[in-house]
Amino acid sequence: MIDTRDAVVAHALVVRRGRTEILHSVDLRVAGGQVVGLLGPSGAGKTTLMRAIIGAQHIGSGTVEVFGRPAGHRVLRRQLGYMAQSAAIYDDLTVEQNLDYFRRVLGAPASDVDRVVAEVGLDPVRRNLASRLSGGQRSRVSLGVALLGAPRLLVLDEPTVGLDPVLREELWGLFARLAASGTTLLVSSHVMDEARRCDRLLLVREGRIIADDTPAGLLASTGASDHDEAFLRLVRRDAASGTGGEAA
């Protein structure tokens, strides 16, 4: 059954780190069963927003709810899959051993290890130590950990970084299949051609969401021919309107 209710709802979310405000009153709605792209320049606040959603980030004010519960609620810990930007895996364990440990923590069945190894295409290196893998392979182990169990929401921070086009294509195919089976995906990227693979796009700039639209809608509203161009136009428009850029 596809869950079309909102997976994530943020209201007036403010995050401060030290004296700097990273997120300025962000309002956000992620519908269930969609692949939502979180795009924006590095340092825009994408990772902070994602960490607030998984409940790892201290929130200054405002609210974030995931499946109707405050972010970080203990019930959500079994329903979320999170992949950080750096591969958060154990270098001195093999691919299998990494997956098996996190599977046990989740209480997922042992068969999950085989399923995930196949999904992220690591079968040939499954018995290799993570420290011996290439950067792209390591990030796929990290993605594999996020896919363990049956998460209702996947929060993936730059999952395709450092991957060749064939692997990127395969992973986006996997994301689409997961969404079709009812999983919600929030995927950050700074590769704009990945934008067209999303159901919806959120553009983040300087701690604000400056656009929230479908890929086609974004092209139409900016009159751009591709998403790179659309993004540049939106950023320029936002910069020109000063710091008080209103969410589109």
Partner: protein
């Protein structure tokens, strides 16, 4: 906290170490080698019998402190700790898993060191040998808990290694190895009353003299209380949410 998750974590830590046979070798052999060296230096003097028991308590403490502080610092820096804390893993499972895994290592290390000191180097022990192992293991656990705690206050491996002399050296100097504690200046003696290693060294000396086991257990309980205190503080440093 659940036994299933604690055992899973302990198993994972031990698997990591298993992939590093050199570390296992160093862990088991180095204390024995150093004890052998001390025995050799002080050959034909009564010194080895005086300091030998204290050595058996000191090594597991230092080694486990170093091993744990560096491994947990790596967990904090690589993002695996953050990942675990957003998963259904209790802080108790994390700490318990480390305590269990390193407790086992400390036991293996203590058995080798005690066996070598007594049968290889002729250390004279009137009491029960298993009590020496017990004190050594509790010291190892204390080192593990302090290592977990120290890793929260270091942002690099360089810093965390510097914590070792800060935490260990005063305890060794004041613990009664160089001079019995009751012969030290009053102020230093008062300070040493608040250092866990003082109680370990006392317990080890009591075992050597073949004293009443109850007194040894009382000392061990004091060391264990320090370990629990460090555990509680270490748990406070494991934050699910960061700023």
């Amino acid at each position: 906290m659940s036994p299933r998750l604690t055992f899973a974590t302990a198993g994972r830590v031990l698997t990591q170490i298993r992939h590093d046979p050199r570390t296992i070798g160093l862990l088991l052999v180095v204390p024995a080698l150093l004890i052998g060296l001390i025995a050799w230096i002080f050959d034909d003097t009564p010194v080895f019998d005086q300091v030998g028991p204290a050595m058996l308590g000191m090594f597991p403490f230092i080694v486990m402190f170093l091993v744990t502080s560096i491994t947990t610092l790596r967990e904090r820096r690589s993002g695996t700790l953050e990942r675990l804390l957003v998963l259904p893993l209790g802080k108790g499972d994390f700490i318990g898993g480390y305590a269990l895994a390193f407790g086992l290592l400390a036991t293996a290390q203590a058995v080798v060191a005690v066996g070598w000191a007594v049968w290889g180097c002729g250390l004279e022990i009137d009491g029960e040998l298993w009590m020496l192992v017990l004190v050594a293991v509790v010291n190892g656990l204390l080192g593990t808990m302090l290592g977990l705690l120290a890793s929260a206050f270091a942002s690099t491996e360089f810093q965390v290694v510097q914590f070792m002399p800060v935490i260990v050296a005063p305890q060794i100097l004041l613990g009664g190895i160089f001079l019995p504690r009751d012969q030290m200046p009053d102020a230093l003696q008062a300070i040493s009353d608040w250092l866990p290693l003082s109680y370990s060294i006392d317990a080890l000396n009591l075992v050597q003299d073949g004293s009443d086991g109850g007194q040894v257990i009382a000392d061990v309980l004091v060391v264990a209380a320090f370990a629990v205190g460090a555990l509680v503080l270490a748990a406070l440093t494991l934050r699910r949410r960061t700023r």
